[in-house]
């Protein structure tokens, strides 16, 4: 009886998730098996055609682009974000609060505006090119926009705070006496970092990677604006199909493909975080 009453507390959140996540999800799944007429209206007729097209080798390229973008984003945010998080957590309390505040500050500005900011910075008539031209370091503008790498930089920038915060939380929890014990037992700072710090902050790394990887798959406006559509990613593809392409069933099928990718990463994350004690990492 008591358990039943206690479980009652979960009802609001269950309703919330049911209404706003569950039902749309079911709709997307259902939609992915439907057909459309030539005007883009949905025809209630079961078909596997959409999935056949998703698996078409033409679109494999798009999956690979997205996967590469998300993986590289995860890697870059990790390489840049880990040291930032590590240093931040070792700061004295006041400066630490300041640093965390500064890391969060960009969230106060619309991400769309910040993406336009990158265009102002990187464009042919942008700030960097203008300065370099004025200093006569280059004689014609460096093309920095509308490339895969531009999308990558923008996506990594956009998701960096997630990685920093995830790693920060786990570095912050790290027992400093373990590091001292490691030095005391004869390990150098680098050895201590790789044998003690990294394995013990692995949950943070895995968490940060997941937090970055998943949105990187779907963040279509960054690659739209900075990549100029030169490289097609899953997010852009789905967006285009659902709007201009007027093919919502196909867009739904691609969404299912993306969800499959995300689930793969999540299952890897579960594995990494279950292995909290890091057993077998250094055998």
């Amino acid at each position: 009886m008591k358990t039943w009453k206690r479980n009652l507390l979960a009802v609001p959140i269950l309703v919330w998730i049911g209404l706003l996540v569950g039902i749309p999800m079911v709709l997307v799944v259902a939609l992915s098996f439907l057909s459309r007429d030539h005007l883009g209206n949905i025809v209630y007729q079961f078909t596997l055609d959409n999935y056949r097209r998703v698996l078409d080798p033409i679109y494999l390229r798009v999956f690979l682009n997205s996967l590469l973008l998300a993986l590289l984003t995860g890697l870059i945010t990790l390489l840049v974000g880990y040291p930032v998080a590590y240093i931040t957590s070792n700061l004295p309390p006041r400066r630490r609060a300041l640093a965390l505040g500064l890391i969060m500050l960009p969230f106060w500005i619309s991400s769309l505006l910040r993406t336009y900011g990158w265009m102002i910075l990187l464009g042919n008539a942008g700030l960097i090119n203008n300065v370099l031209l004025a200093l006569k370091i280059i004689d014609k503008p460096l093309p920095m926009m509308y490339k895969f790498s531009t999308s990558l930089v923008g996506t990594a920038y956009m998701l960096m705070p997630f990685m920093i915060v995830a790693v920060f939380n786990s570095v912050d929890k790290l027992d400093r006496s373990l590091l001292e014990a490691s030095y005391d037992l004869g390990a150098s700072k680098w050895k201590t970092f790789f044998h003690i710090t990294v394995p013990l902050t692995l949950p943070g790394i895995a968490g940060g990677f997941t937090l970055v990887f998943i949105p990187a798959l779907g963040l279509y406006f960054v690659s739209d604006l900075l990549g100029g559509g030169n490289t097609v990613f899953l997010g852009n593809l789905i967006h285009t199909m659902a709007t201009r392409g007027r093919n919502r069933p196909l867009a739904a099928a691609f969404s299912m493909g993306m969800i499959a990718l995300v689930l793969m990463v999540l299952s890897l994350y579960m594995k990494a975080s279950k292995d909290k004690t890091g057993e077998g990492l250094f055998q």
Binding site: L178, E180, S182, Y183, D184, L185, S188, H195
Partner: protein, 368 residues
Amino acid sequence: MKQPLLALVELNKYYGDVHVLKDVSFDINEGEFLTLLGPSGCGKTTLLRCIAGLERIQSGDILLAGTSIKELAPNKRNVNTVFQNYALFPHFNVYDNVAYGPRMKKSMGEAELKTKVAEVLELVQMSGYEQRMPHQLSGGQRQRIAIARALINEPAILLLDEPLGALDLKLRKHMQTELARLQRKTGTTFVYVTHDQEEALNMSDRIVVIDQGQVQQLGSPREIYNNPANLFVTSFIGDRNIFPVEVLQVGDDYSQVRLGEDVVAVRSSPSARGALSADDEAVLAILMDKMRISCEQMDNAFRGEVVSIHYAGSQIRIEVRVAGRILTVVEYQKLECECQVGDSVFVSWEESGAYLLPQEDGWEERGL
């Protein structure tokens, strides 16, 4: 003269403006069990961390077998630490924890390492626990692994930072014996930090009493217990009644002092001999359990009134008001005199239990 294993030479350490170690100098001999004893915040742990290299000193020197190690990083010093919370690596099993030191220093191959790990685990009576993870061990077991992990490196000195603090009383007593046994068996020099006088008195060859970043006294447990060098040591070690008296006459061995109406003769401490003369205020310290209560009038005793009597198992604690001060007397056998609260009694003591010391400024304010 034999060279000390470790020499501390006028160490000074500051945290910002706070002077935590003040001109600390003493020697540690090879093979001894030396305890740094003091109240929390006295600087004993800081001193240990300075020896380990985990803290830098601002001035002075640390010589290990005659060579300065003060500039060496902790991983280059031939000393190992057993940390207060054990600091076992939670992601390694017992074997990998113990093997960590030799692996980092690449001092032996895996085959030799295996024998070595088995040896030290045997030494701390933890054979068969190789595959356990730290979180599967009890506090006492973790303690043993932490010691094994340090001892496998064969350090010149093993530093122990309040290692028994987190254990319950029974286990603590057991581990005291165990540590003393390990120290004898390995012949390793132990430097042990504690705030527990009983631990210090039980295990140590020598004790360094530290207060406010300064060495107060260095000596064998017996010396420190019976002949405390100053008021701090007097009040910190042993349960004593400490109260001011008026000096009538100072002799080399005995002095005459007065409390209220009663005049008694007591042992003079070395520091009292030079510093005191007639009519000075001095401090008399008497061990509570060396005091006696009697109903008959006797020499060398204070007259007082019984304020309370507590029976606490094997001992009886009696509070007596003498000249407006409350003295506590601890008796172990049946009382010689069947006194009641309010009775007039005489308080005497074994000669060795009383000690006369010079007055120090502000000692009463410090709560000694």
